[in-house]
Symmetry: C2
């Protein structure tokens, strides 16, 4: 047991007032310099900047928010229910993109776990003026329970919300088109029994990617019956692949709804002594860390996830600051041909 640091005596932080005194100007002028107002004598500005540096002055966020009537903060809502989403590489990258963008702005990123037990707490936090905008990142449909807040607070979603997509702001990729094109990769190379491990059918990405696959196989004159559904986790991919294999029908290729499920499919396929891509070709979606962790490296769709996060943050800031923004933003994907198909 040791003693603690003294929390009651904060270290001396310089205030705007002190800067003003040192520079021999009024606080208003310092404030103008700090917020680089257009109209301020360059010479004065210089001496103010010198004083700021000398005192190592940093504006106090609380005071600033109070005066501006802006929190200067955006909140990321993390659904508590699914602790898995947090470990999801998709989620991780989106958050990274968000944080990266916000680093260059005046906004701070804070995170709340949307406790289902007391949604009121989250709600009042969000609506209490503590936050200028909200970001919702979740694959899962049930987590769009915050959609109704979008009337009161700027809000941007990662991916089209299942409901209320017409009045929501969101950023996504063309899942259907991308799924179609990666499946074409399979059919074009002569595969005749192309299955899919689809994502949850109550989630837009799950639905849209399945649709893209279907279009491609039908177009190639193949059966669209080889479908098993997973939940985007590695384990579910493995189970779905086993079910596919257990059908006993011919199978020479599979499109997994994301790379994690593809990795799961790998374990099932290789666990049965089959070879990728010789016996079964595999393609995925996302191009995340799983794609290059597996052997052979996975052919997949590059999903610009970090960009997606950045874009979400950018749009949110636009919204907060009253700039016009598009409701639906589509980011481009690309095919990444590796060794699995």
């Amino acid at each position: 047991m040791t003693t603690t640091q003294d929390a009651g005596a904060p270290r001396p932080v310089a205030t705007l007032e002190m800067v003003a005194a040192l520079a021999g100007v009024s606080r208003a002028t310092v404030s103008r310099v700090v917020n680089d107002s257009p109209s301020v004598d360059p010479e004065l500005a210089l001496s103010v900047k010198k004083a700021i540096l000398a005192l190592d002055y940093t504006p106090n966020r609380a005071a600033r928010s109070l005066a501006k009537r802006r929190a200067q903060a955006v909140t990321l809502i993390v659904p508590e229910s699914t602790s898995k989403v947090f470990a999801d590489p998709f989620f991780a990258s989106v958050v990274q993109g968000i944080a990266l963008f916000l680093t260059d702005t005046e906004y701070t990123l804070n995170m709340v776990i949307s406790s289902e037990s007391k949604p009121e707490k989250t709600r009042s936090f969000l609506l209490g003026g503590n936050v200028d905008g909200v970001l919702v990142v979740s694959h899962h449909s049930s987590d769009h329970s915050w959609t109704h807040l979008s009337g009161s607070l700027p809000m941007v979603f990662a991916g089209r919300p299942l409901v209320g997509s017409r009045e929501s702001y969101y950023v996504e990729v063309d899942n259907e088109r991308a799924a179609y094109s990666v499946t074409r990769q399979l059919t074009d190379s002569g595969r005749r029994h192309v299955a899919t491990i689809a994502g949850p059918q109550d989630m837009p990405p799950g639905i849209d990617r399945l649709a893209g696959w279907r279009t491609a196989v039908v177009e190639a004159g193949l059966s669209d019956g080889l479908v098993e559904v997973g939940d985007f986790t590695l384990a579910s991919g493995a189970r779905a692949m086993h079910r596919l294999l257990d059908r006993g029908t011919p199978l020479d290729a599979v499109f997994a709804g994301n790379d994690q499920m593809a990795a799961g499919a790998y374990t099932a396929i290789q666990g049965r002594g089959l070879r990728i891509p010789e016996d079964i070709a595999v393609v995925g979606f996302d191009d995340d860390s799983f794609a290059t962790s597996v052997t052979p490296a996975l052919t997949t769709v590059h999903h610009p996830i970090i960009e997606l996060g950045k874009k979400m943050a950018e749009i949110l800031v636009d919204l907060i600051e009253g700039r016009p923004a598009q409701r639906a933003t589509m980011l481009p994907t690309s095919l990444v041909i590796r060794d699995s198909a």
Copy 2:
């Protein structure tokens, strides 16, 4: 550059003043009720509470921070360099634990990416009085570059820092002991050629777990030469396992420094047509989602990661509020016997 267009509907947030008016008391009294001060007439308190509810009043954080000279916020520093840490299930769970604990406090959790390009920005943010405490979660040694701030700001680390551990606050498990015991699981069951895929040797968990393995194999009279080093990623585990297998020496068991590397080892082992656990037994460390995603399910060490995050936050809050706290906190681990060994 006019920004006249306001985003969304700036809903009327009730202020303390309004509550006071409605309840027919002074603002001071309302404030006392809100902060449940001991001395306030129960009857008055009740009517104030009623007014609060009626107006859906939420205290303004900025104003409160300003008056209290406390940010009421703690910051999580995320190293930018390693975008991988973010997708690391360890990281994800720690953050989850932190967020869970903070939900029940007055503190807000915010995240900053410690941009290496401009460390000054991060530094001034932290030291500018915007934050009451700092949490550092990183497996990686280089990311403890913030250690020097711990003199100026309460700070808690996930895991013992490589340097300055005597004067730092941190929470961890007894990595060496746990690694020893899970390795014993292997030696006790008669395995005679027990290898390890160690974590990075510039990181305490990597070092300590290797030491635990070594003690166990030496104690069993076995060779301690079967060591390959990975970086805690799945891919590195696979590569290390291949190197182990390529040695051409007998091998019937392996302890991987974490579950991700164990999963990588699985792909290498099964990819070569060997069987787990018949040919090679595998054990891991962490008991994360990988442990149950692989087949056969992985025998591993349960690492209470969410608890670890909670504990970190708890200690940080203690520190902030001037309560005494232990510098080193050790959390218990347990063995989870599944099917891989």
